[in-house]
Every structure is written in C-alpha cells, then in structure tokens.
C-alpha cells in the first residue's frame, strides 16, 4: 500500500525504476489454514528434564494473527511512550516492546482458564488476555473507562474472568502469588496451570526461591517464565557511577602525566 502511494507522487523520478518493480514486490499474503511445521531456531538447554520438540505445527492464518497481535502491541507501546513523554501518563510506564513474542506465544498454547500473573510490565499481557486498547489507554491516563477504573494505573491491570491476575508493583511479589494461583488450581482439581512471569531483577528475590521450594515440595502446576530483558543491568545510577569512575581516572592520569612531564612530584600527591 505504501509503495503504490509513492509511485503516484510527482517527485518520484528517482523512485520510478523501483515503481515498476513495486508491483512485483507486493505479494498476496496467504490466509490458508494448511498446516505448516516450523523448526525453532535456537535449541533448548534442558536441566534435569527432557527438552520439548523444536517442531511447532501452525498455519499461515495463525501466524498472521500472531503478527497482527504483536504489531498492535508494538504500536501500542510506542504510543504509550509518546504519551508518557508528553506527561499524559503519570508515574511509571514500563514498556514491553521487544518482548511481544513471549506473551503472544504463551497465549497461543493456553486457554482462558489457565492463569497468568506478571509484574508491572503488563500492558501487552493484558491485551493478550482479552483486554481492549481503550481500556488500556484509559487506565494509563487515569480515566474511569480504564480496566481498573483509573485507580490502578500502568502497573495494576487485571482481568480475572480471563485468568489475568495482574499487574504487581513489587519486584518478585508476583511469583509467590502465582504459586498460590497454581495451588488453588490443584486444590480445585482443575486441569489448568499458572504462568508466573518475572524478570532478571526479580530472579534475585528471596521470595522467589521460597515459593519455588514450596512449589517443588507440594508439586504445584506452576510454570515460571523469566523474561531476561537485561533491565536490571544498566540503569542511570550505574551509568553515573561509571562516568564518575571514568572522570576520576582521567583526572588522576592528568596529574600523573603532568607530574612526570614537569617533574612536580615533590609538592604533590
């Protein structure tokens, strides 16, 4: 569509050779439901278990819905970023762009009776569980039409009827809560599981290990998903520390150099 628009403008003399090729580049997108087997590119690294098969059966129509969902999520997060910079979203706004495939892939294999719980990077997970863009943006901007009626904010999206339990601001807290959801599923003898998502920062939390220990002891139907987006690795304060270290070393080197060049070792250091 974009290419055909370009071919109709006046200042496209440079693009004219391409315009002819444009129509041949526009392929029709397949919506067939013929099964397609895809081999995932990165092998699994199992630890004390059998790795699952790398062959995934899908079809072009399904792949297209995945793409549409992920593209919607990406556009949504970019829009949220602009709104945040325009100060229409206050407080915190943690974005999930780049991680869309995780929640879309998860949704593809589960149903609404399985539970998902995550931390504060929850906009796309909520959308994947059946939330609407209107609910999301209303909540982000503190309006009554939001999924939590404006009382929660970016970090507190919930959709209990679809098995989405939030939306939690305390790093790592969602993991024991997720184990609790799994406990309830086992108690009620549901044949469902819970996915508790967490990040590289929460991986250090003691309560995560406590919950894991209890889950292993009680054999709970919990799946923990670590989304390592390296958010914990570089932060502003760490950067400032490095900058400070760098400039201190620079100053020291400057003094050493001056001392050596001008022989001012005696009254110095």
């Amino acid at each position: 569509m974009a290419l055909s628009h370009l071919s109709s403008t006046r200042s496209n003399r440079l693009l004219r050779p391409l315009a002819a090729a444009a129509s041949s580049l526009c392929r029709p997108i397949s919506t067939s439901t013929e099964p397609l087997v895809i081999e995932t590119s990165i092998p699994f690294t199992p630890h004390k278990c059998e790795p699952p098969s790398r062959s995934v059966e899908t079809n072009p129509q399904e792949l297209l819905t995945f793409f549409r969902d992920m593209a919607t999520m990406r556009r949504m997060e970019i829009a949220a970023d602009s709104l945040y910079k325009a100060k229409l979203i206050r407080g915190f706004c943690h974005l999930y762009d780049g991680q869309e495939a995780v929640c879309v892939g998860m949704e593809a294999s589960i149903n609404k009776k399985d539970c998902i719980i995550t931390a504060y990077r929850d906009h796309c997970t909520f959308l994947g569980r059946g939330g609407t863009l209107l609910e999301i943006f209303s909540e982000l901007m503190g309006r009554q039409g939001g999924c939590s009626k404006g009382k929660g904010g970016s970090m507190h999206f919930y959709k209990k009827e679809s098995g989405f339990y939030g939306g939690h601001g305390i790093v790592g807290a969602q993991v024991p809560l997720g184990c609790g959801l799994a406990f309830a599923q086992k108690y009620n003898k549901d044949e469902n599981v819970t996915f508790a998502l967490y990040g590289d920062g929460a991986a250090n939390q003691g309560q995560l290990f406590e919950a894991l220990n209890i889950s292993a002891l009680w054999d709970l139907p919990i799946i923990l998903v670590c989304e390592n987006n390296h958010c914990k690795d570089v932060n502003l304060f760490l950067l400032l520390d490095f900058l400070r270290l760098f400039f201190t070393l620079l100053l020291l080197w400057n003094r050493v150099l001056n001392g050596w060049l001008f022989g001012r070792w005696h009254g110095h250091c």
Partner: protein, 408 residues
C-alpha cells in the same frame, strides 16, 4: 512505669470529704457469678435490653432465667478458636489452613489440634519456615477464590511477609476496582508473652490498623474468639486476627448461642464489658482483663468505670466509644503496644474530633513502655501496663490522684 498522658493533677486533692456515692459491691459480684450467664448479664448492665448485647437476637432475661438451673459451660480461648476453625472448615470446603507446625505438631500453641487428622494434608498444610513465600502463596490462592487461614507463629514473623499482607492482599481490591477480592485470614499470637525478649514481643495492632483494605480484630474472651474468628473466615476481605498467647489457656463462660455453629459476631462493633458512669476505659485483648480488674478496684474507691472491649481495631467502633465518653466525660485508653502512633492515639483523636465538648479531663493513654521489650522479669513487668497503672490513670482523670509520686 511509663504511661503517656498528662502528668498527675494536683488540683482538687482528695474529694473524700464530698458526698461520694459509695457503691457497695456484694461479694456475689465475683468469679462465681461471672461463671454463669446470669452473672454475665448482671456484669454487662443488669439485664438492660438497651445495652449493646453481643449475642445476636438474644434477650438477656431469657438467659438469666435459664442459667439458674445449671451453670453455663466454660471454654478456653484455645478451644474456642479450634472449634471455630473446625466448624468453618467443615461448612466450606474452600477454607484451608497453612502455617508452620499447624498440622503434624497440632499447632505451635495447639490451636489447630486434631485438624490435620480430620481434614487431611490437602487442607491443613505444614509449611517450611518461609513466611514471605507461604503468605504470598496464600494470597494468590485467595485471588483464585479459596479461603486461606494463614498462621504466623507470632505476629513478629509477619514482618517477613508484610509486603504480601499490605501490598498484595489489602490493596488489591481497590487497585483492581473490585475485580480481585482476597478472602484471607492472617492469624496468630500478638503482643508480649513471658520472657521472650524484644524480637518476640511486639504488638502489631497499630501497624495493621493504619492500613486501609485490612480488617483488624482482637478478641479477648472465648465468645469473642469464636464469634470473631467465624466472622473473619466468612469475610470477603483480608482480616488480621490478633490473638494473645497468654489468653489461650484462660477459661470464659460461653452460652448455648455461642456454641452454636452459626454464631458470629459483627466486625466493627465494640462490647461494653462493664457499665459505669464516671470514666470510660477502652482496651483490647489481654488488657481487657486488666481493665476489668482495675474497674473492680476503682469501684471500691467510689469510681464507677465503664470498660469497653474494642474487639475490632479496624474498623474502630467510634460510635460506642464516643457515646460512652459523652456519658462519662472521661477516658483512659489502654494498650500493650508502643505508645507513639498507637491505638490509644487514634481513639484520642477520634474522641477529640467527635466529642471534645464532653470531655471534663484530658484523655489518658496507658501503653507499653517506649523501649524494646527487656528480658529480665522485673523490667518486663515495668514495660507492660499493669492494673495499678490503669487505676492511677483513671483517678487522674477524676482529679483524685493523691501525690506526684503516684503518677511516675
């Protein structure tokens, strides 16, 4: 003994010379009467139907006539809690118990005795020593619709899990605009025991009571324990249930209504344990017993004290407290916890807001000493309110304190 509040007032001196109504208390008004339901009726206001009667729909006159034929049953607080949890677990299969030593060991204080045998390991779960972990799991189970009862061996250990109590349980209903409800009960002994030292003796009533989204209950008698525990388990919101280790073994009379499995007490209603007209004394948990003893001593000196058993710390029964203060015009608040930002401070503020013109004297706050609980027995006794402190404070509000030394 450090007690917060205005220092002893010297003015007025002793009013012994003035016409003082001497209340002659017949010897019957002692434990023997208290052990019958009639005694309870007398103690709580002489059969007055207009009184805040704790047993729903019961007219005292019926109890009074019934009890003359046989003594009412006595029950320890421990048995009251055990029977309440047992009955609620059998009535609702979604209720389950989780905590350290609740199962095989029959409960660290034997509150959950026999429950593992009766309900099995699926519903009575022994946990490792991981408060943060198992509290989070309990709250998550409550999100999904189960009704957990989480036991903390003492509330001092609840600090390990306080993030889940406050941020995951108390606030969720609000943050989700009503989508997520958390029908969980956190229970365990609170406050000072005997000789357990600073890290095992703190009272957490004011910490939890300051948080919106929580309900905080503190029973005193067996009737309170049964009724409030049942109400807590049935409640759709998180409830912090503050018991007291030293009260577990104490026996109280219980009527047939209390023993019925559908019995429960309303959350947010205080009970007037003893009616009076000169000074109001508010207390909760173990301090109710001390306040009642102080009221006995005061009555011998001509001061008729009204003792209010708060029962519910959050929501606080401001109406009962204020109505009482409007009647007596004097108030002494008693608590075991630290004085600063405590329950007494909240009651004081509430009375000043609602009934300031009715006060004839400054409000006295009796609280634990503003110091971590010491170990030595004599120091521990000084760090916790005693009956004499309550008596002295009540006399101060009546301008009857005799010397400066007595107010130290």
């Amino acid at each position: 003994m450090i007690s917060a509040g205005v220092g002893g007032r010297q003015l007025g001196g002793d009013l012994a010379g003035a016409a003082v109504v001497v209340v002659v208390i017949p010897r019957r008004r002692s434990r023997s009467i208290q052990s019958t339901a009639a005694g309870e009726a007398l103690r709580c206001g002489g059969g007055g139907i207009k009184n805040a009667w704790s047993l729903q729909g019961t007219r005292p006159a019926i109890l009074a006539s019934r009890s003359f034929s046989s003594a009412a049953k006595e029950m320890t607080v421990r048995d009251a809690l055990n029977s309440a949890i047992d009955e609620e677990m059998s009535a609702d299969p979604k209720v389950f118990l989780m905590g350290e030593e609740v199962g095989e060991y029959q409960g660290a204080y034997k509150i959950t005795k026999g429950l593992l045998e009766k309900y099995g390991p699926d519903r009575v779960l022994d946990t490792p020593i991981t408060e943060a972990g198992f509290t989070g799991i309990g709250v998550g189970a409550a999100y999904h619709g189960l009704k957990p009862i989480i036991e903390f061996m003492t509330f001092n250990f609840s600090m390990q899990a306080i993030d889940h109590i406050i941020n995951s349980a108390a606030k969720s209903n609000y943050m989700s605009a009503g989508q997520i409800s958390v029908p969980i009960v956190f229970r365990g002994p609170n406050g000072a025991a005997a000789g357990v030292g600073a890290q095992h003796s703190q009272c957490y009533a004011s910490w939890f009571a300051s948080c919106p989204g929580l309900k905080v209950l503190a029973p005193y008698s067996s009737e309170d324990a049964r009724g409030l525990m049942k109400a807590a388990i049935r409640d759709p919101d998180p409830v912090v249930f503050l018991e007291n280790e030293l009260l577990y073994g104490e026996s109280f009379p219980v009527s047939a209504e209390v023993l019925d499995s559908s019995f429960s007490l309303p959350i947010g209603k205080a009970k007037i344990e003893r009616e009076g007209k000169d000074v109001t004394i508010t207390a909760f948990s173990k301090m109710v017993g001390y306040a009642l003893k102080a009221a006995e001593i005061l009555s011998k000196e001509g001061i008729s004290a009204e003792v209010i058993n708060l029962r519910s710390i959050r929501p606080l029964d401001r109406a009962t407290i204020n109505n009482s203060v409007r009647k007596t015009n004097r108030l002494v608040t008693v608590e075991e916890g630290f004085p600063q930002h405590g329950i007494g401070a909240e009651i004081c503020a509430s009375v000043v807001e609602d009934s300031f013109e009715y006060l004839d004297a400054a409000i006295e706050r009796i609280a634990g000493a503003d110091v971590p609980m010491p170990y030595a027995a004599n120091l521990e006794r000084l760090a916790v309110p005693q009956v004499e402190d309550i008596v002295r404070a009540a006399k101060r509000t009546c301008y009857r304190s005799s010397s400066l030394a007595a107010t130290a």
